[in-house]
Symmetry: D2
Subunit: 431 residues, 4 copies
């Protein structure tokens, strides 16, 4: 008769620390917040060293609908920006520690298999004073790890799902520093930098708070738009399942928040990623005094063996010379923009609209490299389109791109709105 | 009795259009030039559609020696900068066409299996006013496609050999435009941009020329430091064997030049690559009216299936905030520098010197991505160290980096020279 | 006022054609079958060109439990073998057509995040008369796309989820051919080949059938163990999300079935994969007369850009020489076994048990190549262990594997049962 | 005045241990041998831990010429088979040790940029009694790491150069064992196994030997065709630059030999690789008592980050059922052959000849996997054609492969000879 080894039964049920409803407005839901502040109470405690799940709204807090009409985009409220889940307390973590956050998984909700991209004047890094950007919305359907859009035909790709925002709470001092440095820039640039400064409008914390604390957080809380040294909206397209993120701790318990789930995003993300509501599975470890140990000044991450790789890429370079032919002193943003504009023109030559091309540069698994930084005065960036994601041949041929190719792109138009050359109300950034 | 198919014998002997001697100074050799100018006479004609070879000096024109002494670096003449082979006439190519240049191979000379890296104050993109950069030289030995250095221990990697410079000659008009835009920037920045403007000092053309033309080219010729819309010193680390480059033609016959061969270079190349003399095998095709067909404004390239891939990478991010805590308006260069400084500090924690770390960031097959560009006011860049190239474990562990790890790095010192906090004479860039 | 493009709302809700309960025995559930037969009625119709989901039981039909006791394995009933979902009718498909089946996704059930591996005497391809294989069970927990096992310590890896079985129904003629050829082999080998021939024991069809048809199917239906020209249990570890499978159609409507979902499996799968209940998302297209067009004799597939790649591998070769030193005439199975045994011995040298090593060879994302086939009389196979999946260094070093390394492996024992050197009842294969 | 660090000058000149002339017959050259025997005197001593070069003839010893006529193939002498360089003494290595051999580089001779493939009846693993294989020769030109053939149009690929043969000398006892086991098989199969047994015809050792020893070696020396436990003709296509090989030592000093350089070879190599004369750069380390430490029974290797990867592959499976429909008991060779035949038929459907397709399967960087080994009675193998190496679209489409596609292949015919259904004299294997 067999003699079996007897061990106690164990289980790997993964707890879900926060649940959300992606069909309801973010401002009606508990455990959601839209600002960074050290005094936002934690909603749950992380089981250190063990996996847990967090459900997340899309960044807009469910303002965008799966239809073929861009009206919701015209009226999108950006004052709230990222609707984050949490914060979560990491017991035992102290200022100066580093959290090692294993990104075990990021998926859409099973019954919510779609996301969206947005273009709009004033949104993103490719504003072009000569060419108006329409307000558009494109809906991307998810089929497993593949996505395609009825609004951007002839392209399909494997995603690299990730959380655009993952960050620890700033200390009071760090928060003040953020506000000061961004306010200073706003002043110095007469508002052209487009920094989003603290304001109660759009502030939201789903937790029960006494009025005084709520008012304080709404007044002081840092906006979530930029990535900062704590992580936040750092939008690392490679931080997909199987990767790890390293973030510093500023207050006891860390107060980790996560949100802004993306199905896919390019390196560089010039407008939006494929924004989606999603479910994030994480495991958090603590590296004591990691800030010093790792010489950490801003987030670190480790890549994943599961990242989809599109190896054959057609790449466009950009230099730091502006469109009027003026040389800048190594402007990296301009180099990026130039590479992107060249890729967009190239895609337009196949029949895509400017906005469809812009979306592709932002949503697809596109590789963007810093090419050269030491050859003054030019900073060089390249952007690589994976050739395999198109169902037609995008490669240059000795005969160039024929007229025949221009007829390639057909399909329903991209839902769009022209707003008379003016920035739509919902957008808080101006040229 | 067997009946054999009879066809004429063919041959694939690959002609070498230019030969050079990597042991002799560039200025003593024919077929070498150090400026961009449309009137530099072509030295050979490209067999369109067929492979050919070009031998190239290292960028310095053989000024650097394989020894353990950095004196040659202290006295390095940068006025000549890149010693290029060519130019080559591409018969049939006309302004507006695009050259498709297949990079069939880039190798060192068989009996010259080494290259070098340089650091120096004023050179590269990581000047740091708080920390003096020593003048250093490191010698890298090549063992097939592997390289390692007796001056930077505990690391070895596969190279991705490429030509740092490959470009077509500018038209007279384009040349004038380059000079004007760079002069304007020099004026606007009171010289801080560090542009290298035309000057006879360091100019060289190895061809026979009448005095008047020589004087004209030396006076007008554009310096080779920056990459520009024609290609030139665009330093694309991914443009290794198996890749293709697309460059515009500005004058009849194109006048293609190539040089600045590298054994390996990071994305971003903050100081020098592993500079070497090398042999480049190319095949050139013409895309008629390609500039219009491909919407080309600056070079394009296509990646290679032969690029070595180090998939597991530890990545460091950088934001566009300066070291005093001031927020810039999306400075890409600053973001890159911040990511690089963080990686350097991390490497120093294992025992490398600052200069060894700096060299690694520039010489190794490091991936550098533009991460996010739309999250004002921060531009985010990341730099990824391949974990496999070190012979010790560089990954963060829950116990951090122990003191034990700090003893990892041992070996001969990096040849270096301290120049009393002053820029060495040979360097033409100032802070 | 903005003018919006108005298009009708669309939806991508993905229909689930079959639902199953992974906590209940397969034989109690509708829409499950355990034999191949053309007369098994279809349970649903595939929406050609559109995605759909199919829920699948693990191959055993829920016989295995998540605990630390191998008793369920000792009593495992293999007569039923694969519990398949379907069959599904593909409208419009005719004999001679080929189905292009896009494997859009394969995932575990959200609340069933575990799978198991099995070893047992008589199971798998690594029987070794000199060394008894214990009956063991290991439980693998899934954390996103990562898996690890409390029973096989010091290893974790990204999965490549796939359906081990996907196949079309045979025609009556093909079914008869299968039975004949396998019966002939059973006779020729006096039962040593271990073919599973048709038998009512273990046969199951969940659909309502009249008694006569049920009896016929149970009597005639082909066993599901071997992969065959229709696909079936072809166990392609690379057929993960983003891949495509091409299968021939033998009867009108194709009658496609799917099941045997795996979280991960090596190339070669010498014992079981990480067996799990799972949800498969597919999209099916028809290639008319594809059998002729594609010259198809057995299944084809196309790889996926989403396959996790572990690039650094330590590989073991195997030759077709048996352990007594006898040369076989290019036995591929023997070459595979020899490579596997060598890898197993190597893993044992770090402290793993023989069964743990055996499981790793079968469950992990291991690359196995046919190396050389033309060098008579040796057929050479290699098996590559990805170095990154271990949390210790498995590479050979100049000092070899030290005794210190042998202490690496610690952790709870593998649940196992010794069955007195006899094959456990549940297993239908004998040595 | 600067103070420089002074260190002694060092050099990395890589010694070449053996030079050969690829334009002269192997049998006229020193340092070449065509048999395995422990008493062949070493021709040079390996500098342990330091790189060295070895020049190698092609396997045939320069019998094949770069022309368009297959007559040399008809008369190819296979009795000599592999013309190996060496052997080399590895000082300090003792029986039971393992050599770690770093494959630093494998390249063609600079002025000998071509290789060849051969098909012939009786050669390779795809003999097909229904279809005669013509004697053919195809010449492949090398352009850097790219190759293409004037005889096999519409395809070009990056190579993975390697040495097909690398092995240590057998001990006397091992040599006797090899001969016995292969002779036994020849007897058991009545010669059908096609083993090449020792014979003086074709034996050659370029070293000075006294007559008695020469006669002994020629009489006893093992033939080089099969890979064996010492390595030898193990033909690992992945063992390209950057990889490492691990081989056991059987006699003091190891007596390492290398040869049979290939520009590229598929996994499985059913006929010849792209055979070339080449230069191999190696570095050898000794793992004392490595055979025991590494549990080594046959060679091990480690993959290279420089291996070209073609990620998108169309794969063909093969089962162990013969063409008459008879089921074998997991014949791996048959499974491989079936997958190969299906791929060949597929390629023929685009217009390639049978021999051109056969060559592609053997010469191109094709991935071949052992898919499944435990699903009795079928062993499953797959062969994956990289889609990117063709200049037309090889993927199945919903409309199948149109007649239009069949017109794709054009170009000069493959040099070939029909030998009246008879095996050409030069081939020593019979059906």
């Amino acid at each position: 008769m067999p003699v079996a080894t007897k061990l106690k039964k164990t289980s790997n049920e993964i707890p879900t620390l926060v649940r959300v409803d992606p069909s309801q407005p973010g401002e009606t839901q508990a455990n959601i917040h839209t600002r960074w502040h050290p005094e936002i109470p934690c909603v749950a405690t992380v089981p250190v060293g063990k996996p847990f799940r967090v459900e997340c709204l899309d960044y807009s807090g469910s303002q965008v609908h799966n239809d073929d009409n861009a009206d919701d985009i015209v009226h999108l409220d950006h004052d709230s920006d990222h609707h984050l889940s949490g914060p979560f307390s990491v017991p035992g973590s102290m200022p100066g520690d580093v959290l090692e956050i294993e990104i075990l998984d990021v998926t859409p909700f099973p019954d919510h298999n779609w996301g969206y991209c947005v273009t709009a004047p004033g949104l993103g890094s490719l504003d072009d004073e000569d060419k108006e950007t329409l307000v558009t919305k494109s809906i991307w359907d998810f089929y497993g790890n593949e996505t395609s859009s009825r609004h951007v035909p002839h392209v399909a790709f494997q995603g690299r799902p990730h959380a655009g925002v993952i960050g620890t709470a700033p200390s009071k001092k760090l928060l003040e520093h953020w506000v000061k440095r961004e306010s200073d820039l706003e002043v110095a640039t007469a508002g052209k930098a487009g920094c989003s400064l603290p304001q109660p409008k759009g502030a939201y914390v789903g937790q029960d708070l006494d009025d005084e604390l709520r008012e304080k957080i709404y007044r002081e809380g840092a906006r979530t738009s930029p990535g900062r040294e704590h992580g936040g909206n750092i939008d690392i397209g490679l931080a997909t399942r199987g990767s790890r993120m390293y973030l510093p701790v500023y207050i006891p318990g860390a107060s980790l928040s996560v949100g802004d789930t993306h199905f896919c995003q390019s390196d560089g993300e010039p407008t939006t990623a494929i924004e989606m509501a999603g479910i994030v599975t994480l495991r958090v470890n603590i590296i004591p005094q990691g800030v010093q140990q790792l010489c950490m000044k801003s987030p670190m991450y480790r890549t994943s063996p599961s990242e989809p790789i599109y190896r054959d890429r057609l790449c466009f370079t950009g230099l730091s010379v502006d469109k009027d032919g003026n040389q800048t002193n190594q402007s990296g943003l301009l180099a990026y923009r130039n590479a992107a504009f060249q890729a967009i023109e190239y895609l337009i030559s196949f029949g895509y609209t400017r906005e469809q091309a812009y979306i592709l540069l932002s949503a697809a698994p596109i590789d963007s490299r810093v090419v050269a930084t030491a050859n003054r005065p030019n900073f060089v960036v390249s952007i690589g389109l994976p050739t395999e994601i198109f169902d037609f041949d995008i490669l240059p041929r000795v005969n160039g791109i024929t007229d025949d190719k221009k007829r390639v792109i057909q399909g329903p138009a991209l839902p769009s709105v022209r707003v008379n050359g003016k920035v739509a109300d919902g957008f808080n950034h101006e040229h």
